[in-house]
């Protein structure tokens, strides 16, 4: 428990650090930051609206520390300001609507590729040097060294345009109304296949390599030899003696991979015109919608911290040594 509380304090500090970057960046720009932010976005705003915006960005009269506290206060009360492009919608609702799609896409892709990658890694390590091992290892190099942008574009070109098997945009058929009907869910899955395929290609290799390396490092351990000496079956030693222990560091690689998943997902959504965070963000970047660009950093940071926290908790559950210290 003490471990989890300490982690939580650390995450709070990390979040405040991200907010601090957001606070100081506009103030490092030459001239009046609010004016610059709005004129570069080409938006027309009334003076009252401008004042309201200044407030959420902490541009109040008073010394810097007071401005900083005002800003932190609005962040912690969930006020990320208003979007310039979609004025007067608040940033939280612009990003919130898109977040559902991103979380769905990312979550599924992470689970699928983690499971698949872990299994491939276990088998590759168990049959080290076999054809299977070489195919998995070499495949993993190719898949992980190609940027997500490139993978997305190639998948889109091949399966979307050349073969024409799958749709090239949107999360579902735009003529359908969202509902729990079979047609709508079918359409969701059909539209999600290509983005999923891309993300899984980008991610699976990394998990497979991590798991394989962890396994290989464990296979020489005494308890593996012991398991074999007891005459246990191969699959039992592989899964319950080696894989179970090798999984521990792989789980923490999952937390680190979340950053990669986020980046990959942003790009994939842009390429496949998928209505998630990445796409909204892309539009925001083109329109220089600063409140939205800054808001996504905070939301992504929170997502990353939550993912890390889940991993911490599962670590405590998986590793008895950590439980003992509490």
């Amino acid at each position: 428990m003490a471990f989890l509380i300490r982690r939580f304090g650390f995450y709070l500090a990390a979040f405040i650090a991200a907010a601090t970057i957001n606070f100081f960046l506009p103030r490092l720009m030459p001239g009046d930051p609010i004016q610059i932010m709005f004129s570069s976005a080409g938006a027309e705003l009334s003076p009252e609206n401008l004042d309201a915006l200044k407030l959420t960005f902490g541009f109040v009269d008073g010394p810097l520390w007071q401005q900083y506290l005002t800003y932190l206060q609005s962040i912690f009360t969930g006020d990320l300001g208003r979007s310039i492009k979609y004025f007067p919608l608040p940033v939280t609702s612009v990003l919130g609507n898109a977040l559902i799609w991103t979380v769905g896409l990312m979550g599924t892709a992470t689970i699928v590729s983690f499971t698949l990658g872990t299994f491939l890694g276990v088998l590759a390590a168990w049959r080290r040097g076999s054809v299977f091992d070489i195919v998995v290892s070499v495949g993993a190099i190719f898949a992980t060294s190609v940027p997500a942008v490139v993978t997305s574009l190639i998948v889109l070109f091949f399966f979307g345009f050349t073969l024409g098997w799958f749709p090239t945009g949107y999360a579902a058929d735009p003529s359908l109304d969202p509902s729990f009907s079979l047609t709508y869910i079918g359409s969701l899955l059909y539209h999600g296949i290509l983005p999923m395929l891309t993300l899984c290609t980008v991610l699976t290799g990394g998990f497979a390599v991590t798991m394989r390396n962890n396994m290989i490092n464990l296979l020489g351990e005494d308890y593996i030899v012991m398991g074999r000496a007891k005459g246990l079956s191969d699959s039992r030693v592989m899964l319950w003696y080696a894989a179970r222990n090798a999984l521990l560091p792989t789980v923490s690689s999952l937390a680190i991979a979340i950053g990669t998943v986020l980046g990959g997902s942003l790009v994939t959504e842009v390429v496949f015109n998928y209505p998630g965070l990445g796409n909204i963000l892309y539009q925001a970047i083109l329109a220089r919608d600063y409140p939205v660009i800054q808001g996504q950093l905070l939301i992504m940071t929170v997502a990353m911290l939550i993912a890390n926290f889940i991993v911490d908790v599962s670590y405590v559950l998986l590793d008895p040594r950590l439980r003992g210290t509490s």
Partner: protein, 297 residues
């Protein structure tokens, strides 16, 4: 150690293929002005022409020569990759060795910042930084990449430093009264050379990918000739939907080739450093972290 690494690299087939790919791209990039008569930035033909004898890889939406942009763009990708990669490695290695060797308060402060940087998602942070800079030139991108991406390297290097700092040769150097900076530079650093090499190649790959991603997302300087800007312009011109595959697949292929070349090299350095892992594996940024540390954040 350096000698072992060098002879190992020349004997390893993966390293050889990787080095041939990288050397090929470097030579083409350097010889770019000799290989094409077209200026990469100016309009030299009709828009979206398919590959032909005049324009080997076709033309872009506004009539630029794709081949010329490809080989001139290679200069940018390589420069950003190796420049930012070097910056990331120098910062990460220096901080890691200092934290690991000095210990105490210094270690606590450096480790705290390292862990903090690791949990703030990198790409979203870069998007914010680049958008405030406005149109980020390749140089600016390389600099912000360098200053935001050193944390992985710092952590791995720190863990390795901790594992060798109690060895006898360090103790004897301390007894002889060698200054601390000398111990860090000439006793510890040479023994970390394979970790530093893996960190460097990994950082180069990361920098090339990230530069292309930032530019693809519209944060680059439109005047830049680079693979990322080629992707951005092609995507903006809907090259795939209008059937101009050459416009978009050319930079894709180039980025994939460079990424694979560098990864093969990384893979080989890792095999030489960890003979146990032979027959295929790639130590990427996070496996390095898991193996050398306790694996937790």
């Amino acid at each position: 150690m350096i000698k072992v690494l060098f002879t190992g690299l020349t004997r390893n087939r993966k390293a050889l293929i990787g080095m041939i790919i990288i050397a090929f791209i470097v030579v083409v990039a350097l010889a770019a002005p000799l290989l094409t008569e077209y200026n990469p930035a100016s309009r030299v033909g009709r828009p979206h022409q398919p590959p032909s004898a005049d324009h080997w890889l076709g033309t872009t939406r506004i009539g630029q020569d794709v081949f010329s942009r490809l080989i001139h763009g290679a200069q940018t990708s390589l420069a950003v990759g190796f420049g930012a990669g070097l910056l990331i490695t120098v910062l990460g290695t220096a901080l890691g060795i200092i934290a690991g060797y000095r210990g105490g308060k210094t270690d606590e402060v450096i480790s705290f910042f390292t862990n903090m940087v690791l949990v703030v998602p990198n790409l979203p942070l870069l998007l914010v930084l680049a958008s405030f800079i406005g149109q980020a030139s390749p140089l600016v991108i390389a600099i912000i990449l360098g200053f935001t991406s050193w944390a992985w390297g710092a952590r791995v290097t720190r863990a390795e430093t901790l594992s060798i700092k109690h060895k006898d040769f360090i103790k004897s150097a301390e007894m002889m009264g060698e200054p601390r900076w000398r111990i860090m530079m000439f006793e510890i650093f040479p023994n970390l050379i394979s970790i530093v090499g893996i960190n460097f190649i990994g950082s180069v790959i990361f920098a090339i990918i990230t530069e292309a991603t930032l530019e693809f997302l519209g944060l680059g300087d439109p005047k830049t000739v680079s693979w990322g800007m080629m992707l951005y312009n092609a995507q903006k011109a809907s090259a795939l939907s209008v059937g101009a595959w050459w416009d978009i697949l050319t930079p894709c292929f180039a980025l994939a080739l460079l990424g694979i070349g560098l990864s093969l090299l990384n893979f080989a350095v890792d095999e030489i450093a960890n003979p146990r892992l032979r027959s295929g594996n790639r130590l990427n940024r996070w496996t390095a972290l898991i193996r050398s540390g306790d694996g937790r954040l």
